[in-house]
Symmetry: C2
Subunit: 83 residues, 2 copies
């Protein structure tokens, strides 16, 4: 077994309304910042032990499928690094 950190990034699919992003974008503009678009994403950094990096990625993807992401409105990606 080796120690890995899996990072799962969960973001709304294109076209799905992102009220948090809209609110943040307006607030930044009111503060005088120039920006075109803003998107938000949630990131989960998970320390785990696994047989291989492939096993670690598979487990992180399963965590996303079962809990961290809602497949109807979210896309996700999982990457792992050895610790």
């Amino acid at each position: 077994m080796a120690a890995y950190t899996a990072t799962v990034t969960v973001r709304l699919k294109r076209g799905v309304l992102d009220p948090e992003a809209e609110t943040t974008k307006r607030a930044l503009s009111r503060l005088g910042f120039e920006l075109e678009e803003l998107r938000t994403a949630d990131r989960f950094e998970i320390d785990l032990e696994a047989e291989s990096s492939e096993a670690a990625v598979r487990r992180a993807e399963e965590m996303a499928e079962r809990l961290l992401a809602n497949p109807t409105i979210h896309d996700y990606e999982a990457v792992v690094e050895e610790r």
Copy 2:
């Protein structure tokens, strides 16, 4: 001017309680997943135009300082990519 995407990642400083992470970690364990630690972070992807990548990073850091992060409890990092 060139088009950049600045990605600002905001996470709680080490030692600051992260109830969302604790709750998520417990839920994953109840689903039978093995994991040691879990940390959450917020990610903002900002499309903007700037004179240079240095100018784009500076603007993203300013956005973090003034709105996206609370310097008392958060650490943040800003990276930019040309679009």
